[in-house]
Each structure stands twice: as C-alpha cells, then as structure tokens.
C-alpha cells in the first residue's frame, strides 16, 4: 500500500507529457505523407489508373508474390521459430543472427546476391532451369526476392509467440492422451497464434512493399512498386501518384484484414476472448 501511494502521484507527469508530444509528432510524420498523397486526387484520374491493364497486372503480381512468399514463410519460418523458442543448442545465437541478416542487408545488395544463386548460372538457378523452373523474370523470382527480405519477421514473431507458451502445458496435454503432434496443434499453436499471425502479417506487408531485391532479380514482369517507379521515371509525379494511391489502398486493406484475423477473432486466436 505504501509503495503504491508513494508511486502514483505526479512523478511521471513531466516525462509522460513530453512523451505524448514526441509521439504525436511521430504519428503526424507517418500520417501526413499518406494524407497528402490521398488529398487532391480526382476520382476520375484514379478510375482511369484502376482500369489500366498494366497497373492491375502489376498489383496482381505483387499480391500473388506476397501471398506465396507468406505461405513459404509460414511453412519454413514458423517451424524455425518453434525450434528457436523450445531448444537450446550450440550456435543458437549464430542462427538467430543469420535470421536477422536480411534486415541488415541493403535490398539491392540482397537482389544481387540472390542473382548469384537463383540467376541463370546460379547454384540453384541452373539446377532449377534443368527441370523448367526459372527465377529470372518470373513469379518464382518475385517470390524468392520477397521471401528473402521479409521472412525474418515471421521467424522472430513466431518465436516470441512460442516462447510465451509454457512448454509444460504441452506436457499436460500429453498426459491427457494426446500424441506430440496433436498436443502441439491443440495447445501450443492456438496459444502462439497471435504471434504467428503478427509475423505473417508483417511478412506479407513487407513483401508487397519490396522494391530493391525484386527490381534486380525480376524487372519484368513488373510488380506494383517497380511499376510505380517506372511511371515516376517515365511520366513524372502525377502519373505515378494515382497508382501509388491504389497500391496504398490495397495493401492497407489487406494489412487491416490480416490484423483482424490475428487479433479480432477471439475463438481461433484463443487469447482474444
């Protein structure tokens, strides 16, 4: 009681007020450019952009690539997050660092590095070419580039999700008659669900946004960011703005949808109720 009454009055107000102001400036910094982009756009110009075949194809390619990259991230990244959360082994710090490397590598550099492996003469590129799979200038290349730069979010977020689940709950499930896979599915996965979904959402958003690695590995067909860049270079700001706004609307809508899937639906997320 004493510590509480001694702690509550006045003390944090100065710091808290300053934090409010600084946080407000940051929010404005994020929102202002987006609002400026939105303002002054005539609906007719937007409709014209939205009816352009090139633009729609580019956005479609971005969405398809990001969706496939997110699926790959789920398939490979969530298990790695589980391993990092549940085991300790020599070199675990190294593995965690490797997972974070794509966040530190400049994305154009990542694109060039990927070219060495997935390009025509690349280690994997050449082998895949033999069975008819090409990464240069294809959807597969888009997916590879997107996955490389965005998968750390899934691994790290899933790891945090799994770490927050008491491993002994899985043990309890085992004693209640569940096999190891079944216990994982019915106890650990639902409890880590929010962390996993947060990671996949970030991965998806980052994948749609990717420009640097994609543009080097796959210039044609163009993803939406590449197309916007091309419009900007060839026709200028006005031409690029319409498509930029369209991509913004699509990615924000999907981002909100995924967040809702992760946090909004109580029953599947388990923790949401």
């Amino acid at each position: 009681m004493q510590t509480r009454s001694a702690r509550s009055p006045a003390r944090p107000h100065g710091a808290l007020a300053l934090s409010f102001v600084l946080g407000g400036i940051l929010l404005a910094f994020i929102l202002l450019p987006l609002l400026a982009l939105t303002a002054g756009q005539s609906p007719t110009a937007l409709a014209q952009v939205a009816s352009s075949r090139d633009v729609l194809d580019a956005i479609g390619l971005s969405l398809a690539g990001a969706a496939l990259a997110t699926l790959c991230a789920a398939f490979f990244g969530v298990p790695l997050g589980y391993v990092l959360a549940r085991t300790s082994f020599a070199g675990k710090t190294f593995v965690s660092a490797v997972v974070d490397v794509p966040l530190a590598v400049p994305h154009t550099v990542a694109g060039i590095a990927l070219l060495f492996v997935f390009g025509r003469q690349g280690l994997i590129g050449a082998a895949a070419d033999a069975v008819g799979l090409q990464f240069w200038g294809t959807l597969a290349g888009v997916v590879v580039a997107m996955l490389f730069v965005s998968v750390p979010y899934t691994v790290n977020s899933a790891r945090l999700g799994f770490e927050a689940v008491d491993p002994r709950l899985e043990q309890v499930a085992r004693t209640l008659g569940l096999g190891p896979w079944h216990a994982l599915y019915r106890v650990t996965l639902p409890l880590a669900w929010r962390g996993i979904m947060t990671g996949l959402t970030l991965t998806f958003a980052r994948a749609i946004a990717e420009f640097g690695a994609v543009v080097i590995l796959v210039y044609y067909p163009m993803t939406a960011p590449v197309k916007i860049y091309e419009l900007f270079i060839r026709f200028g700001l006005e031409e690029a703005t319409g498509m930029a706004l369209l991509l913004l609307a699509v990615s924000l809508a999907l981002f909100l949808l995924l967040r809702w899937l992760a946090y909004g639906r109580g029953h599947t997320s388990g923790l949401g109720r």
Binding site: D166, R168, L169, Q171, V172, A173, R174, T175, L176, G177, L178, G179, P180, H182, R186, V187, P190, L191, G270, L271, R273
Partner: protein, 355 residues
C-alpha cells in the same frame, strides 16, 4: 484399485540427476517428495509421466511396466503449479480436453455430472484466468479424472497461492485423493504441504532420496542436519554424549546436562551428536519450583508473535527456540529479558550422530 512403483530410477539430465530412486504408493495414498529447488523433484515426476527416458530402473503403474511408454499411454494425471489449465479454453473445455482421445466411445454428456461433482456448473464457460484457486484446482482434478488416471502427479500446485487459501485447497485435495482411491505423488519444497497431505514422505536432495518413511518417522527422527533443517526443526544443537546407561543417554550441551531416552541410533560415550528439538517441546515458566534434570535456568532474549503462538528466543547457555500459546504467555506473565525456567521434554529430543 491402482498403485504406482518406481524402482531404482536413475537418470542424468543436464544439471539434474536422479540417483537410484525407489518408492511405491498404494491406492488413495499420498506420497510427498520434499526437497529444495534443484533437488530433481520435477524431473522425477516428469520421468514417471514419461517425458524422460531413465538410464536405469523401472516405472510400474497399476501393475503395468511403462518405463518405455510415451506419456499419452501412461494414464497419469499431471497437475502443475497454478494447476496448468489451458488458458485458451473454458473450464468445461479444459475438462473435456482428454475426453475424445481416451474415451472415444462416450459422448460429452459425461461432463455434466463431473461439473456438478466438482461444483463447477456456475463457471463452466469461464476462462481459467477468471477462476478462483479453488475452482482452478477442481477444474484440473476433473480434467485429469475424466481420463481415468492410475496415478496423480502434482508438481507444487500451491507454490504461488497464499497460505490461507492453500490450507483449504490441501484439505480438498486430500479428501479427493482418498475418495478417488488413486495414488498421488506430490512434489513440494514446503514442509507444510507434507504435514497436511502425506501418508509417506521422501526427502530429496541432489537427485537422491535422503530419508523416507511415515511423516512421524521423518519429522521426529530426521536422519541428518540437512533433513532436520529442511523439515523446519527449530532447535538443532551440537552436543556430546557423556554416558550411555539403561535409561538412555546423558548428553552435554552448552554447559548443561540433559537426559535423553534411547532412540533408534546406537551411540557411545564421547560421540558428537546433534540434538533436534521441536520448539513446541520446550516449555517456559517463571523461575523456581522443583529442580529436575529436564529443567534449566534461562533468559528470554526476544519474543515475537507467530499466529496463535508466541516464539520465544531463549538463552540457556545454548540458544533455544520455544513456541508457546499466546494465552500461556500472558497467564505466566512472561516478558522479554526475564529470567525463567526452561523445561525440555526429553521424549521429543532426537539425537543424530555427527559424522
């Protein structure tokens, strides 16, 4: 009817180890494994439950050897600290969790009588977070019971619960285990759990069972200083055997001579010993009265209240702690810094030979 036996279990697991652990329990019996953190208590439970493969030894549950069987085939009820309910499922969902796996043939209508039996009808649709400790315990017991376990394994379920609540929960648990006729192995570092629950006690330290037996055997005859201290024996005094005679031993302790009846240990003159003396076997009175060999002059150094008792710290040439009823203290007008007569019950003294 079911029973459980562990035979010469040996295991090494990182910093933990189990060394030649043997114990057995009959239906409805509660065995308490008492030991400090890191003694290997949880590892022992996990090994019985099937999460570690022992290097040697056997685990036998209800006459079936299960040493190499996975946890899901062992039929154990596993109850953890804070009861280990699944936080994403309601009380009813927790209870029916194991139902469809082990008992495919029956429907979920089976839950209703369980909810009634454990007085959980009102909270069936609530998440564990919102349950009281008592409701959590009953939910956890019901959840295990539905899979018809042959043994309950409890890993410090009361460790994070306040004393007053855990008193009630212990009583409920004891009643439940007796009624269900299922053996239970209860792991704890709290000797109060052992006093309240145990039919048998094993004191564990660094992977070994140091001493085991009935509660009275273990509490009244601790085997060494570690056990005595861990069981909360208030007075552990160093002494020397002066003489051995027909009536027992004359022991020299802190300049005083004490007559102690013969115990289980065979001691000789000159042996160094530890005297274990529970604080409630020490009586304190105003000075005077008939002098006898069990009485000493002493001084009250300090007094502190401990619930219905008063803890008196005494100096009799050696330090001594006594527990007296609050009423006794006031009736006898006992005050700090007062000279008193101290009366030790020789029958309560237990001697341990010092190695």
């Amino acid at each position: 009817m079911s029973d459980v036996a562990v035979e010469q279990l040996t295991l090494e697991l990182g910093e933990f180890a189990l060394l030649d652990i043997s114990l057995s329990l009959d239906a409805g019996e509660i065995g308490v494994i008492l030991g400090p953190n890191g003694a290997g208590k949880s590892v022992l439970l996990e090994t019985i439950a099937g999460f570690h493969r022992p290097a040697a030894g056997r685990v036998v549950i209800s006459g079936r050897e299960v040493t190499t069987k996975p946890p899901e085939q062992r039929h154990v009820g596993f109850i953890l600290q804070n009861f280990g309910l699944f936080p994403h499922l309601t009380a009813a969902e927790n209870i029916s969790f194991g139902l469809h796996i082990r008992r495919r043939q029956r429907g979920s209508g089976e839950i209703a009588p369980l909810l009634a039996r454990f007085r959980l009808e009102g909270v069936a649709d609530r998440l564990p977070d919102t349950l009281s400790p008592g409701e959590k315990q009953r939910t956890a017991l019901a959840r295990s019971l539905i899979t018809e376990p042959d043994v309950f394994l409890l890993d410090e379920p009361f460790a994070a619960i306040d004393t007053r609540t855990s008193d009630t929960l212990r009583e409920e648990l004891r009643q439940f285990i007796r009624d269900a006729r299922i053996p239970a192995l209860f792991v704890t570092h709290d000797h109060l759990d052992a006093v309240a629950l145990a039919d048998k006690i094993a004191v564990m330290w660094e992977g070994e069972i140091v001493q085991s037996g009935t509660p009275s055997e273990v509490f009244q005859r601790p085997k060494n200083r570690f056990v005595a201290e861990f069981l909360g024996v208030e007075n552990i005094l160093a002494g020397t055997i002066m003489a051995r005679h027909a009536g027992g031993y004359s022991v020299y302790v802190g300049g005083q001579r004490l007559e102690v009846p013969p115990g289980n240990e065979s001691l000789n003159a000159e042996d160094e010993v530890l005297l274990c003396l529970p604080a409630d076997a020490v009586d304190v009175r105003q000075p005077g009265g008939a002098a006898s060999l069990r009485e000493f002059p002493g001084l009250i150094v300090a007094m502190a209240s401990a619930g219905p008792l008063v803890r008196l710290t005494l100096d009799c040439g050696f330090p001594l702690t006594a527990h007296l009823l609050r009423r006794t203290v006031s009736e006898r007008h006992l005050q700090p810094h007062q000279a008193v007569t101290v009366d030790i019950d020789p029958a309560a003294v237990h001697l341990i030979r010092e190695p």
